[in-house]
Amino acid sequence: MRDAFIGRLEALAEANSRILLITGDLGFGVLTSFEKRFPRQFVNAGVAEQNMTGLATGLALDGRIVFTYSIGNFPTLRCLEQIRNDAAYHGANVKIVAIGGGFSYGALGMSHHATEDLAILRALGITVVAPGCDWEAAEAATALADRPGTCYIRLDRTSAGSTALVGEHFQIGRARMLRPGTDVTLISTGGILSQVLLAAETLSQLGVQARVLSMHTIQPLDDAAVRSAVMETGGIVTVEEHTVHGGLGGAVAEYCLEAGVIPKAFRRVGLRDGFSAIVGSQDYLRQQYGMDERAIVDAAKHVVAASARTSVGVAG
């Protein structure tokens, strides 16, 4: 996903000399080609994320499109106030790129688990994107370069490969239906989409037809896709490698309640235990914290069952 994004960013930088990439001294091997090809569009700010974000704002206010790059929570939480006061308040063309969402760097420990970023950045009112596959990541690079204002993109280490449909056009804020179904809708954000697609396949074998939405943009949320899912399917399961507080699940729930579009059943799959003190591979931690394929299947079954009870209740 990361390479797909950076590859596209190189093409964008070649076409537009106003694009500039600042790294917080990370990206070993990944940014080498970019730096070599576009030395005047590449800056290493050093291990200094506050300054990196301030620099980006100053450059952006002077007419550049600036991508800041680092991993985990460093380009977001470490410099949150710079994102809020400097970039977002001024509507600066700063695009924050975080590599390694969720448990991507699972074995590196709690400091490297990015599990609150989506909620926190969403609260700033800026565009928040978490692609689910390589194609979405590359397309998002193009879309964000064109999109005015401050944006955040979280890139996971794993992805669902490429899920592009023939002739498909990517749009920020427009969910992608990757699988039709009416029994339940699985709404996914980020690289955990791979688990969601596996879960949908397993459910299908159990006779449950799950609709799969890749909600690559959490803000602005695709309200219409959520509405359709609520009206046309048996219930909603949101899936994110992130705390259940305030991220995708929170955004969907907020919309549904305020719009009066109430799912027959609703469940959020995500991190509920706060911080992880244990380490392990991304797969291991997803399993430990109830975000793997099996957990998604279980949540979907629960929603289907609850939905059936609701329907009976309504009919009765």
Binding site: A48, N51, G54, L55, G58, G63, Q82, N85, D86, H90
Partner: protein, 252 residues
């Protein structure tokens, strides 16, 4: 305007008033008719709590009417206690949280350098805000990239929020720190207009060093009972106090 609105920080405003007067009166290349003129000099007030001083200078320069100043700090006003650019012509950048202005100014300086443009970037900072680590990140960066087009001016009144700088987190030897970080340091009496004019007009360093102007100032300058007083970081002059302060400033 601070008395009417009941705002604090008048001591911090008076501390830098002479610097602001010289900058907007004779140094900065800005044009009220073209606030977004691409070749303008960029000025950032990083000690945003003294924003009233910038608003006043911009109004005096004709960026907006003097009457607008009377709304400062009041319900529905665009003139917030900490300097903000929204709906206000001439404010380059909004601040209020300390340690933000210099990194952004250095970004503007880098952009100008990359494009080969010749305008200056001036960031006015407080001494207390040099406690913020973000500044030192920017100080390292600007020297490394030889951004001679950026000038940091320190309003060095030697008093911060609760006590003196020396009693809080000492900055001395202050000039040596900037020098060690690769900046050219110029020291000046921050209330002497001729000296300020000469210092702020000093040509960019020929070897590419960014410039730090340490302006020695007095907090609350010009009002005897406000000078060197922590109280006037917070207190609003009203009634007799206001009349006395106004009288002293007019006669000063």
């Amino acid at each position: 305007m601070t008395s009417r609105g009941g705002s604090s920080h008048i001591g911090a405003v008076l501390s830098m008033a002479d610097i602001i007067a010289v900058l907007y009166g004779a140094v900065l290349r800005v044009d009220p008719e073209r606030p977004n003129w691409p070749e303008r000099d960029r000025f950032i007030l990083s000690k945003g709590h003294a924003g009233a001083g910038v608003y006043a200078a911009l109004a005096e320069r004709g960026f907006f009417s003097l009457e607008t100043l009377s709304t400062h700090y009041q319900d529905g006003s665009n003139l917030s206690g900490h300097v903000s650019h929204k709906n206000i012509a001439g404010v380059e950048f909004s601040t209020g949280s300390l340690g933000h202005g210099l990194p952004v100014g250095v970004g503007m300086a880098l952009g100008a350098a990359l494009d080969g443009r010749s305008h200056r970037i001036v960031v006015l900072m407080s001494d207390g805000e040099c406690d913020e680590g973000s500044n030192w990140e920017a100080i390292l960066f600007a020297a490394h990239h030889r951004l001679a087009n950026v000038t940091a001016v320190i309003d060095y009144n030697k008093i911060q929020s609760l006590k003196s700088v020396a009693e809080t987190v000492a900055l001395e030897p202050f000039a040596d720190k900037w020098t060690a970080f690769g900046w050219r340091v110029l020291e000046v009496d921050g209330h002497d207009h001729d000296a300020l004019l000469e210092t702020l007009h000093t040509a960019a360093d020929p070897t590419g060093k960014p410039t730090c102007v340490i302006a020695h100032t007095t907090k609350g300058k010009g009002v005897s009972f406000m000078e060197n007083s922590v109280l006037w970081h917070y207190r609003t002059a009203r009634g007799e106090e206001f009349a006395n302060a106004e009288l002293e400033l007019l006669n000063g």
